[in-house]
């Protein structure tokens, strides 16, 4: 088996890795690059725990090959905070208890960030549909939706 050499950018850093052709981007992030913040809940694109942004577009990293990352710009949960400065969504999720077990949290934060980049003033329905691909079994979504809405309001006030 000859491995593929891939050059990409992850959370702003030029990154090179070797992978098998069948490795998913999720496999690469978790097992080759040690970025285990991106989680695997299903491996079939049904739970959203592996959400990352590729060239600014939200995707399931389990549904993309590592090899496809060549030349792309990938953002994962590990790049969401700036130094010790949490992203407002991260801060709000803690404050509003928008997580219980926390396994879905990285994917939901990445997805919510992608929403707020496109739509700074989403309705509750828009938030709910945007996040419909991110399963959470603990919270019933209530506090998650509220946290996203409140973060959006805070960010609008701040800008």
């Amino acid at each position: 088996m000859s491995q593929l050499h891939v050059t990409t950018k992850i959370n702003g850093d030029e990154t090179e890795f070797l992978c098998e052709a069948e490795d998913t981007l999720l496999d690469v992030l978790r097992d080759r690059l040690g970025l285990t913040g991106t989680k695997e809940g299903c491996g079939t694109g049904d739970c959203g725990a592996c959400s990352v942004a590729v060239d600014g577009r939200l995707v399931c990293s389990c549904l993309m090959l590592g090899a496809e990352a060549e030349g792309r710009d990938i953002a994962t949960i590990e790049g969401m905070a700036t130094g010790d400065q949490l992203h407002p969504l991260q801060q709000k999720f803690i404050e509003m208890a928008a997580l219980q077990c926390g396994i879905c949290t990285p994917g939901i934060l990445v997805a919510a960030q992608s929403l707020l980049e496109r739509n700074p003033d989403p309705s509750e329905e828009e938030v709910r549909y945007w996040l419909a691909g991110n399963l959470c079994r603990c919270t019933g979504y209530d506090k998650i939706i509220r946290a996203v809405m409140e973060t959006a309001a805070d960010m609008r006030r701040a800008s």
Binding site: K39, L86, I94, I103, G140, Y141
Partner: protein, 749 residues
């Protein structure tokens, strides 16, 4: 020294506030390490080969080709395990099949290999010869005398003759005279209800990393609700001493009861032992659904007698639960809890534990109770509505209170059922208008709540901060609660305390994180450990001041002289005492080990509005309110979270979730695509009302809150859908095809 032990009137400083959880930053930044996030040097990948048959004799397993494959370091089958103690025999058989594969997905062999690709390839090279046997997956079919039999000789003495060997046990609870009670009724509602098996649906698949040395010492990293349980079970299965197996609990990505047993862990240890290398095993989602514990599917007959003014004269239920391939469905819990919210003169429940060719049922949040509540609360609702009575008033009229003899035997102390009903009645939700094709349902629910073995060790650091070590995996914010209770008791700020989950080598035995026990039992032990530390700090202060220990009391985070002869010394703060601990006898700690008894039962009332699309049978949840007694809400945000999460799991159970088996006994929907748990867009906000009726068995009045919230939703939603549809729904899930068929049948008369 005098310790503040008041309950109802206590003025809390930390408890009842909403501080940030201590593991928050780790969890929002991706740093938190869950089951699959650990690595070890030289680690191998472990994988399991699973039965493609629902029921088959395993004639022969030939793994020679797999063993010969380059990169394969170990193959394990049942033959690798010796005789094991009886109490773990079924556990082992479920982890690795013996003579027979008992369900689709049952483990039959495992490999450890140098990469996932090699492991996958190796599994295909293992040749298993099966003799396929007839199977049965339906509970009512499994009871019949001619049903295919899973096990011979497992039937208990409680089962009358003439039933299939699949019927393992019968139990009966209650008091009074049902026939006499039914005679007093103006109306008797008699129906059969059915519920489908549902899965706990935690988002994190089971995962572990096992290491075992040639000296027999082993380490295990695992996502579990109870690493002490994992240690004890694995040690028994592998014939090890418990002290030689150290288990560390990872962060856990949901459990809801499903991670209270072992699946991969003994196999991973055996692979690690044979390979002499660390072995990591992670289940796929389909493995989780095929082979880990769903809850029972059930079939329940209910008979309710009611007078025209709403008095329940008799309540009877016969419950049949299939618990998968081994004895031990949660039918007893259902039979004991179903009528628990009511004060009844005549009540009787009969429970039947049945085995079928399905994965062994694991606990699922208030195991057994939601199905019983669905049946009984539906029948009560139907009887009340037949008389045109208000369903909340009927529940209030018949509701249990302090002094009521519970349907399962004991007499209740102070309980909160009526408080939840009164809160529901006065809530604006109850009086809000409903539109066309909309319905409102209410239902009550009960759960026992547990205590059990618990250890907490609380250490004072030299700089006067505090660490708490406890032995229960934090599944939904319990580290915050423990930190709060320690801070409360010590009279210091929340951020001066840090709580960690210790490994099995660091504390004594701890019961699993289950039965809504953690905030109650670990909280109790934390408070007692803090009190022990306070006593010691008071003693140190007394030494310094040269007065009697008894003349020192602890208040607001400091030792103070108390009483007429104590003298006038300025208070010594915790920090001051800690700084000179070495000079006064050495480090200061408090610890508490207890089998915590005295958990308080808890009750809830749920209220839900639905809208029905009469053309498609689709149900939309419009509004939902949970009213539940928490005893004392330590961190109200996480109490609300438990209420909301339980309600939404109940919504899934009521509307869409189900295990679907084909005629061939194979699970048809082993993925999140067709095992349909609720998504964000399915739901409204879930409103919560926390009632606080203190539990006399806990220093702060805490009751467990985690499980009760899943008990009422099935019935509440069924009552709402039935109202909207104009036809009584008796089978879950109330999926669109089922509701549409009922609506059409009703229309056709």
């Amino acid at each position: 020294m005098a310790l503040d032990d008041t309950k109802k009137t206590r003025d809390f400083k930390v408890v009842g506030t909403r501080p940030d959880r201590p593991d928050g930053i780790d969890k929002v930044t991706g740093r938190a390490r869950f089951g699959a996030d650990m690595v070890a040097p030289g680690m191998l990948t472990g994988r399991i080969l699973r039965s493609p048959h629902a029921h088959a004799r395993i004639v022969k397993i030939d793994a020679s080709k797999a063993e010969a494959l380059s990169g394969v370091k170990a193959v394990v089958t049942r033959a690798d395990f010796g005789e094991v103690p009886e109490d773990v025999a079924d556990v082992l058989d479920n982890c690795m099949a013996g003579d027979k594969a008992l369900y689709d997905g049952h483990a039959v062999a495992a490999v450890a290999a140098s990469s996932p690709a090699v492991a996958r390839k190796a599994l295909k090279l293992i040749e298993v010869e099966y003799e396929v046997l007839p199977h049965v997956t339906d509970v009512d079919a499994a009871i019949k005398p001619d049903a295919p039999v899973l096990h011979e000789g497992r039937q208990q003495e409680t089962v009358p003759e003439g039933l299939s060997q699949n019927v393992i046990a019968r139990s009966e609870f209650g008091h009074g005279d049902i026939e006499a009670g039914l005679k007093q009724a103006d109306r008797v509602v008699e129906r059969t209800y059915r519920t489908a098996a549902t899965h706990q649906g935690y988002i994190e698949p089971h995962a572990c990393l096992a290491t075992m040395g040639a000296d027999g010492r082993a380490d295990l990293w695992v996502c579990t609700q109870g690493h002490y349980m994992v240690r004890n079970t694995c040690a028994a299965i592998l014939g090890m001493e418990q002290g030689q197996l150290r288990v560390t609990a990872s962060e856990i990505g949901g459990g809801f009861g499903g991670k209270t047993v072992v699946f991969l862990e003994p196999v991973a240890l055996m692979l690690a032992k044979k390979a002499g290398r660390p072995v990591k095993m992670v289940m796929s989602r389909s493995e989780v659904l095929r082979a880990t514990g769903p809850t029972s599917s059930t079939s329940i007959d209910v008979k309710i007698g009611m007078t025209k003014d709403g008095k329940i004269t008799a309540g009877f239920a016969e419950l049949r639960y299939q618990g998968g391939a081994y004895p031990g469905s949660p039918v007893d819990m259902g039979a004991m809890s179903g009528f628990a919210p009511y004060d009844l003169e005549n009540v009787k429940t009969v429970g039947w534990d049945v085995v079928t060719n399905r994965p062994k049922a694991a606990a699922y949040r208030a195991p057994g109770a939601p199905m019983a509540a669905f049946a009984i609360e539906s029948a009560i609702d139907e009887a009340a509505k037949a008389f045109g009575l208000d369903p909340l008033e009927v529940r209030l009229m018949n509701g249990a209170d302090e002094g009521t003899k519970a349907s399962y035997g004991p007499t209740y102390p102070a309980i909160g059922l009526k408080a939840t009903l009164e809160a529901a009645k006065s809530h604006p939700h109850w009086s809000a208008p409903l539109g066309e094709n909309q319905g409102r349902g209410v239902a009550c629910g009960f759960w026992f709540n547990f205590g059990g073995d618990t250890c907490v060790s609380l250490n004072i650091t030299p700089d006067g901060t505090v660490t708490v070590s406890e032995g229960n995996p934090d599944i939904g914010g319990s580290r915050a609660s423990m930190t709060m209770m320690a801070a409360e008791e010590l009279g210091i700020p929340y951020d001066q305390v840090r709580t960690i989950i210790a490994d099995t080598g660091s504390l004594g035995q701890n019961e699993v994180t289950d039965g809504s026990r953690v905030t109650f039992a670990v909280g109790l032990a934390t408070i007692e450990a803090a009190r022990a530390a306070k006593r010691e700090m008071c003693r140190r202060a007394a030494m310094i001041w040269g007065i009697d220990d008894e003349a020192v009391e602890w208040e607001d985070g400091a030792a103070r002289p108390a009483g007429p002869n104590a003298g006038k010394f300025p208070p010594m703060t915790l920090k001051e005492i800690a700084a000179i601990a070495s000079n006064t006898g050495g480090p200061i700690a408090g610890h508490h080990e207890v089998n915590a008894e005295g958990a308080g039962v808890s009750f809830a009332t749920h209220m839900v509005d639905v809208e029905l699309d009469r053309d498609t049978g689709s149900t939309k949840i419009l509004r939902y309110t949970v009213f539940q007694d928490a005893g004392k809400a330590v961190h109200p945000s996480y109490v609300e979270g438990q209420f909301q999460g339980g309600a939404v799991q109940g919504i899934g159970w009521a509307l869409n979730e189900e295990y679907i088996y084909g005629e061939d006994g194979i699970l048809q929907n082993a993925g999140f695509l067709d095992y349909r748990i609720p998504v964000a867009s399915d739901l409204p906000m879930i409103d919560t009302v926390i009632l606080e009726i203190p539990n006399p068995g806990h220093p702060y009045g805490v009751r467990g809150v985690g499980e009760t919230s899943i008990v009422p939703p099935l019935a509440a939603i069924a009552n709402a859908v039935s109202e909207a549809a104009g036809v009584r729904m008796t089978q879950l899930p109330m999926s669109p095809p089922r509701v549409l068929a009922a609506v059409q049948a009703k229309a056709e008369g």
